[in-house]
Subunit: 140 residues, 2 copies
Amino acid sequence: MNEKLTESLENYLETIGMLIKKNKIARVKDISKELNVKNSSVNIALNVLADKGLIIHEKYGYVELTPEGKKIADDIQHKEDVLLRFFTEILGVDKDIALKDACRMEHTISDETLAKLIFFIGKVDKESSFKKAIQKNMKG
Amino acid sequence: MNEKLTESLENYLETIGMLIKKNKIARVKDISKELNVKNSSVNIALNVLADKGLIIHEKYGYVELTPEGKKIADDIQHKEDVLLRFFTEILGVDKDIALKDACRMEHTISDETLAKLIFFIGKVDKESSFKKAIQKNMKG
DNA sequence: AAAAAATGTTAGAATAATATAACTTTAAAA
DNA sequence: TTTTAAAGTTATATTATTCTAACATTTTTT
């Protein structure tokens, strides 16, 4: 069990988590709009996620995350947040571009690299010598 | 024209470029071994790449890169190199893990973010204040 | 040079992700 | 409350990537 999800399924889970956080509920329509796919594609993905025990979805009803599904959704969201912060705050990448990059890389960064990146960002926040040099990077 | 390649096709191109650099020639067998796929899968991918004008592949012959194909292969390899350096030299990630991460992220990092990352790595190399703090990160 | 081994190719099947089109159910309007 | 609109579902098809198995060609051995 616990086999790695595909990038597509991870995106569905993450989107569901985001919608629940934002609107309290997640509907098929909102998921398809967010991911730029058709309702039928969402349905197929939801069936797969339900089979894996990551969501609950009664016919014609809202979509809910199981505890396990929520854990995965939160994990991916966290990776996105870390990458986004690194790209924007430290590298000085434009926010839109940084977000797109983060949304793609969040599926491939390893836990080890993520941990090092988090540690690095923390260091930068604390050490003023870092910050000064980083300001220069922002302009380039 | 110039439509974005799939991650799979990018990997084939990059591998072909690497093999040519290493062995002067690239054979189906070596590509399949490198990418852990079957010869038949390689053949199908080679047909697609040949259709796109990125490689030259005569039946039962070696695989060659066209100038356009070489450009793409080099570009991906460059992205991998930059990511690998960042992960190992600045974040202090274990080399094997860093390489795996770089090999996946090389397909998704944008040119903008890559440019900022290159600039950042250059800065780190020059500024000693950076280096000191980074040594600490390596231990964590 | 003939036989055997290695390499390369093609045909057919499987999985994953998506789409379109037809249909069903639920929600909203008249 | 009936009709209409919106949302959700299912069936069928397409594309991409891979596989296995059968077949072809090339290379190596004997």
